[in-house]
């Protein structure tokens, strides 16, 4: 784990879980697998606190444990999983676009709590939805369960590995740590629950409601003491599936930008058809025949089969190679080259970064080097049509920032510098890694700056919160206009300005964090696609 990643992880843990969890989490990330006593020793915290923090981290799938020899349990922190916390808003928003408010709330509850049983999720989401609805209306559990089942069917949420069932009369003493098994078949199977009920509001309106609900509430309390029917079956968010969805979105929008709307729709159809059949890190999708694609096109598009074939040939001939032709049966078998698409996306990101950082001339040299792979100094000047002095200057600037590297090709076996070729080249993989490291650093800087800004104006923020609370309570009890105005004037005009600018800055920094995370996603997917899985 690089220093930048560790710093970012510790900042994220501190913001979301507090100082104690942050200390233990960052210690585990830095030192790798450790048993409980060693963690307590090294961090100099009490055993109690360490246990609590580890429970929280395990609950949120950020730390896993393994039973080693001699009964020692070792804990390991998953650094990459901690970095995903940056992407939570994107997951929730995607769930909203696909499954509307119910899906959004289900995913949000699962992310807030790490793991939950289905009944608990449904209950909480129904309660939350009921509060936003009008008076008198309540959300039925059945609707929420339906959305939950749909999310599970499309693999957006999955079951956590199951703990082994312990029988009451086991002769041997229970092992120090349960071995959780992940059952591949049951991962998306929803248990057969008969969830009947309606969402409850937190506040009770009027005595009539109280009278009606009292016997019901007593019954519910009795029910909650028994274990729920799906006890032990926990659900978590399937992050890989969301990443697959983001990748598909990126490819479709790239095709739409490069060609036109219809071709992007065709690619979207192809990707949708291969969602379940292709694993998430396959280099290309399963071959799809042109007839199948024609049948699965969305209902709104009524293009003729011939035009579809023309589009497919155009896509396959494109130099970017998003779509490839793998055979001629069934009217032409077409695949989507996922790894190549990710590489093109990463390269486009690199080009754009060079352009924004160094100028369009540097970008021209960069693109030239990408195309021609290796070029000498003189050749660069000639091909880019840029005067020698400027070309040299730009190349050295990019070289010092590690976007471009030198490749030595010796003419003689003694590698004499006067008789060696020095060629400039761009290595996309190493540049992508360097940029990813830089992105982590920038997000860490952004978070630090945001915390600094809020700390500076802490007193002012507290004052404004108090004034708002007073205003709210006075409005509830019914106060005159004059009194409300007086209270509002407690915050002077310059203070109000200060608050406004603080709010603007914090919003800007938060939005930048979200957008840097988009770049992080593209670069990470590209790097992951090049790593060979053992």
């Amino acid at each position: 784990m690089t220093q930048a990643e560790i710093k970012l992880c510790s900042l994220l843990l501190q913001e979301h879980f507090g100082e104690i969890v942050e200390k233990i989490g960052s210690h585990l990330i830095k030192t790798g697998n450790q048993p409980l006593r060693m963690i307590a020793n090294d961090t100099e915290m009490s055993l109690d606190q360490v246990k609590k923090a580890l429970c929280v981290l395990i609950q949120h799938n950020l730390v896993t444990y393994q039973l080693q020899k001699r009964g020692i349990v070792e804990y390991e922190a998953l650094c990459s999983r901690v970095l995903r916390i940056l992407r939570y808003p994107r997951y929730i928003y995607t769930a909203k676009t696909l499954y509307s408010d119910m899906g959004e709330l289900i995913v949000e509850e699962l992310l807030l709590n790490g793991k939950m049983t289905m009944s608990a999720v449904v209950q909480k989401v129904a309660d939350r939805l009921t509060e936003t609805m009008e008076d008198g209306k309540t959300m039925d559990y059945a609707e929420v369960s339906n959305t939950f089942v749909r999310l599970a069917d499309t693999h957006f949420i999955q079951r956590c590995p199951q703990a082994p069932e312990t029988s009451e009369n086991s002769a041997a003493p229970p092992p120090p740590a349960p071995t959780l098994e992940a059952n591949e078949k049951d991962m998306y199977m929803v248990p057969n629950l008969n969830l009947i009920g309606k969402g409850k509001r937190r506040r009770s309106f009027g005595d009539e409601d109280n009278g009606e609900h009292k016997p019901k509430r007593q019954k519910q309390d009795a029910d909650s003491k028994e274990p729920p029917p799906d006890d032990g079956i926990y659900w978590q968010v399937n992050i890989d599936r969301f990443h697959q969805h983001f990748r598909d979105q990126a490819i479709v929008s790239a095709v739409a930008n490069r060609m036109d709307q219809t071709s992007s729709e065709i690619v979207r159809t192809m990707l949708r058809m291969s969602e379940i059949t292709t694993s998430s890190n396959a280099p290309y999708t399963q071959p799809l025949s042109s007839n199948e694609i024609f049948r699965s096109l969305p209902a709104g598009y009524n293009i003729v089969k011939q035009i579809l074939d023309q589009y497919l040939t155009l896509l396959a001939d494109d130099p970017l190679e998003f779509v490839g032709k793998s055979g001629d049966s069934g009217g032409g078998m077409y695949i989507v080259n996922l790894h190549k698409a990710l590489a093109s996306l990463a390269t486009a990101t690199l080009e754009s970064i060079v352009q924004e950082r160094f100028g369009s001339r540097c970008a021209r040299i960069f693109r030239l080097l990408l195309r021609k792979k290796h070029l000498e100094q003189k050749q660069v000047e000639d091909f880019a049509m840029i005067p020698a002095k400027e070309a040299k200057d730009m190349l050295y600037k990019m070289l010092s920032e590690n976007f471009v590297s030198l490749q030595e090709i010796p003419k003689t076996p003694d590698h004499a510098p006067s008789r060696t070729f020095y060629l400039y080249t761009v290595n996309t993989l190493s540049s992508a890694r360097m940029l990813l490291h830089r992105c982590y650093k920038s997000v860490a800087n952004l978070i630090e700056r945001r915390q600094y800004e809020t700390k500076e104006s802490k007193r002012l923020l507290e004052k404004s919160q108090r004034v708002e609370a007073i205003l709210a309570s006075m409005q509830a009890t019914g106060a005159e206009e004059v009194q409300l105005q007086e209270i509002e004037e407690m915050i002077t005009a310059p203070e109000r300005q200060q608050l406004e600018s603080l709010k603007r800055n914090v919003n800007k920094i938060d939005a930048s964090e979200n957008q840097v995370d988009e770049t992080i996603f593209v670069l990470e997917s590209y790097i992951d696609s090049t790593v060979k899985k053992a």
Binding site: K51, V73, P89, L112, G359, R419, Y422, E513, Q515
Partner: protein, 228 residues
């Protein structure tokens, strides 16, 4: 022969400088002797952020998520050092947090995670505070008992032995005592203190004087001036 390079004493590169683009005899750029500055000047202004409904919604989601995480029982905040002035709202916030305590599913966690109940100390059942109505008879009985315990030799010895064994136990469980002391009833502490003090003569005489005063005032319901 002995001469090196182009001219005597002149530095020369081991390769043809034209290969990397510098013309012959041209002034080379300065060598850098310090690390890159902390905030290097950027050549161009950054591109403005993406604006739009989606981005605004995601921004709101992010801030809401952060806020709700802070209220969850998973957020373990550092115990603040004793503030000079305790906030009134703190008491109610603590109450709300305590009502939302989270208990993990112990079947999924290693056994060492579960906090073990301390079985050594038997929890003392808190005696219900009985309202002592101040009746003279009760007070007299109490005083008589106290006087008897002070003057009787055997009970004094018994108390000394008890004290010794108590001290032994106390040394063994010193650390636990330190914690328990804070939680113990103040009345218990006072009682023990009182018992300990009864072993020296001066203190006994003092207590006797006070007791006599108390008896006479409660009996006669007026202070006796000649006793002062």
């Amino acid at each position: 022969m002995a001469g090196s390079g182009k001219g005597r004493g002149r530095a020369a590169f081991t390769f043809n400088i034209e290969a990397i683009g510098f013309a012959k005899g041209e002034t080379l750029p300065e060598a850098v002797f310090k690390p890159t500055p902390l905030f290097p000047p950027t050549g161009f202004k950054p591109v403005p952020l993406k604006m739009g409904e989606d981005e605004d919604y995601m921004l709101a989601l992010k801030q809401e998520f952060r806020g709700s995480m802070k209220k969850m029982p998973y957020f373990i905040a550092n115990k603040d050092e004793n503030q000079a002035i305790e906030k009134y709202s703190k008491k109610y916030l603590q109450m709300r947090k305590e009502s939302m305590e989270w208990i993990p599913d112990w079947r999924r966690l290693p056994r060492e995670m579960k906090p073990r109940k301390k079985t050594k100390k038997v929890e003392k059942t808190k005696k219900a505070k009985v309202d002592t109505t101040k009746s003279n008879v009760d007070v007299l009985k109490k005083i008589e008992n106290m006087l008897r315990s002070i003057t009787c030799d055997r009970s004094w010895k018994r108390k000394a032995m008890e004290k010794k064994s108590l001290m032994r136990k106390r040394r063994k469980k010193k650390t636990k005592r330190v914690k328990k002391k804070q939680q113990m009833n103040k009345k218990n502490m006072m009682k023990r203190n009182m018992k300990r003090k009864m072993t020296t003569l001066l203190h006994i005489l003092k207590m006797e004087m006070i007791l006599v005063l108390v008896v006479t005032t409660t009996w006669m319901k007026q202070p006796i001036s000649y006793l002062y």
